[in-house]
């Protein structure tokens, strides 16, 4: 128990920090039904922009906001490439992700920027509140996450938000009602990537540096959080769904921390996460006994001595 408690609090903190990534991925993958890979580039973009601006002396709150804004623009580019230049969604994301790698290096001027003698948003809030470092981080990120969830719950219930959700749910229908679905995709991708870059900016400040490689595996981590959240909390409605995603992000970080504690090497984490997502996604198929997929898994004992059909 004494060993679990710090791990648990640590996971709450990381779950909230990376929760914005999960929320961003939720908006593109779930709301917009757009498999957006830009995320792997916008996360370090947010980190790079925040770190460089803070190192240059800009107010860290402002720097974090600018980092989020950079993500908005990157998402807008992906949307433009997909809708106006008619490039497939996956390829549009890959092109952006690849291009952003160089952009991130250019922003930082080198492969990483350390934030040593400057104040981050966490330093400032901790100083103001006078609390413990970890507790302060949880409070700050928690309040911010709550604000984001409430803001998006409101937005997704406005006329514009309804049109955005319908674009992901039945594009043909909402276009037939006079909505420019290209614009909706650009808005959705912007918002999603804005949240991811915001997360990148916060993570860079929390860990004290931004690194060009910090985005690796972010999509899979985000997806894992979404899947865990959906599996553990069955809810209806967009607000509760977003809260479930943040909770899933916490559970994911907890699993990772426990796996590390159990002796798993950090280098294996991405493989473990990928396997986790794969299993979670394929379980519904394997549970369906009529699935044609099952014939590839005939070695899994289900009905002992069941005669082979046809």
């Amino acid at each position: 128990m004494s060993a679990f408690f710090p791990i648990g609090t640590q996971a709450i903190d990381e779950g909230l920090l990376y929760g914005f990534v999960a929320l961003g991925v939720w908006i593109t993958f779930r709301v917009l039904d757009f498999p957006d890979l830009t995320v792997e580039g916008t996360f370090p973009l947010g980190g790079a922009v925040a770190a460089v601006l803070i190192a240059a002396g800009l107010n860290p709150f402002l720097a974090t906001a600018v980092a989020g804004g950079a993500g908005l623009l990157a998402g807008l580019c992906t949307g433009y490439i997909n809708t106006k230049l008619h490039i497939n969604a996956l390829l549009a994301g890959i092109l952006m992700m690849s291009g952003l790698y160089s952009v991130n290096l250019a922003v930082m001027g080198r492969s990483n920027v350390a934030l040593l003698d400057v104040s981050s948003v966490f330093d400032l809030t901790q100083h103001a509140l006078g609390t413990d470092k970890l507790l302060n981080s949880i409070l700050f990120c928690g309040v911010l996450a709550l604000a984001v969830v409430l803001l998006f719950t409101w937005f997704l219930h406005t006329h514009l938000g309804l049109a955005l959700r319908a674009t992901g749910d039945n594009e043909q229908m909402i276009r037939g009602l006079g909505v420019n679905t290209d614009a909706m995709k650009m808005i959705g991708l912007s918002l999603g990537n804005g949240l991811v870059a915001l997360s990148g900016g916060l993570v860079a400040q929390a860990q004290g540096f931004a690194d060009v490689g910090m985005g690796l595996g972010m999509i899979v981590a985000g997806l894992a959080s979404i899947i865990l959240g959906e599996a553990l909390v069955r809810v209806r409605g967009v607000g509760p769904a977003m809260a479930a995603v943040v909770f899933g992000s916490f559970v994911y970080r907890l699993i990772i921390a426990l796996a590390l504690r159990a002796g798993l090497g950090p280098s294996n984490l991405k493989l473990v996460t990928a396997a986790l997502v794969l299993i979670a996604l394929s379980v519904p198929l394997l549970q369906d006994r009529t699935s044609p997929l099952l014939k590839h898994f005939h070695w899994i004992p289900r009905h002992v001595a069941r005669p082979v059909a046809d």
Binding site: H157, L162, N170, G176, L177
Partner: protein, 264 residues
């Protein structure tokens, strides 16, 4: 009102799959007319509806609506004046969104979307009043995701969505074809009452000749991308299914092969 002038559309031009779906087709529909559109498979009925709705551009010809040339206007731009109900109930609805959200989206057909609340209490009351006469309890389930509704319920909802903000033109693309006979009969009755009540200018594609004769004020038969029969008013009222088949064979110069129309 709706004016289609020598419209031609060829799919897969220059390939072995080349299909001329519309050949110099012209059609004028007056305000308030309820046109039923029949024809064998591949006659170009759905292509015509898609062309009018702006799903694709045509090779040549003109389409104008309310005096405005919409030939090269994007689908979402002309959607403000055109409402559609599809054959597949899934096409007209978003499964993850609620009944009230669907009506809220439909009530803003063709208008810019603001950051105002989508479903207000006032709107909810109005939606209840629209749904209640259907008598299928949709007004009691305003918050239910549409994915939980049956095909017939979805088509009924789509019809209400089509009429909630009066369109200049209503396009019905075999919207009862995928329903069981009893439900299909209910939906076609509902269609008739909605069209009458709102005096909608309507173009209804159907495979059911009896429906084509019983409903609507005008009947148009298509064959190989052309209009081969166009009757309205008293003349239409005299037609029987057998007359239609005879007319088809006379106009098209070939035997009528689709015997399913005789069975329905």
């Amino acid at each position: 009102m709706l004016l289609v002038q020598s419209l031609t559309k060829t799919f897969f031009p220059g390939t072995v799959d080349e299909v001329v779906a519309l050949r110099e087709l012209s059609l004028a529909v007056q305000p308030g007319e309820f046109v039923t559109l029949i024809g064998s498979n591949g006659a170009g009925k759905s292509t015509l509806l898609n062309a009018i709705a702006g799903v694709f551009r045509c090779d040549s010809g003109r389409i104008s609506l309310n005096g405005e040339d919409v030939t090269s206007q994007a689908e979402h731009r002309r959607a403000g004046s055109i409402a559609r109900v599809y054959q597949d109930p899934k096409l007209g609805t978003a499964p993850g969104m609620s009944i009230e959200e669907h009506l809220a989206m439909a009530a803003l057909r063709g208008q810019p979307r603001s950051l105002a609340r989508g479903v207000t209490n006032a709107a909810r009351e109005r939606f209840c009043a629209e749904l209640e006469p259907l008598g299928i309890g949709l007004d009691q389930r305003l918050k239910a995701p549409v994915g939980t509704l049956s095909g017939g319920q979805r088509q009924a909802l789509t019809l209400i969505m089509a009429a909630i903000k009066k369109p200049s033109l209503l396009l019905l693309d075999e919207h009862t074809a995928s329903l069981d006979p009893k439900t299909a009969a209910r939906i076609i009755e509902l269609t008739d009452s909605v069209v009458r009540e709102h005096e909608l200018t309507t173009l209804m594609v159907t495979h059911n000749m009896e429906h084509a004769l019983r409903y609507g004020s005008r009947l148009v038969m298509m064959h190989q991308g052309r209009v081969v029969l166009d009757v309205s008013g008293a003349e239409k009222a005299r037609y029987t299914v057998l007359d239609l088949i005879a007319a088809f064979e006379r106009q098209a110069g070939e035997k009528f092969v689709d015997d399913t129309v005789l069975l329905t």
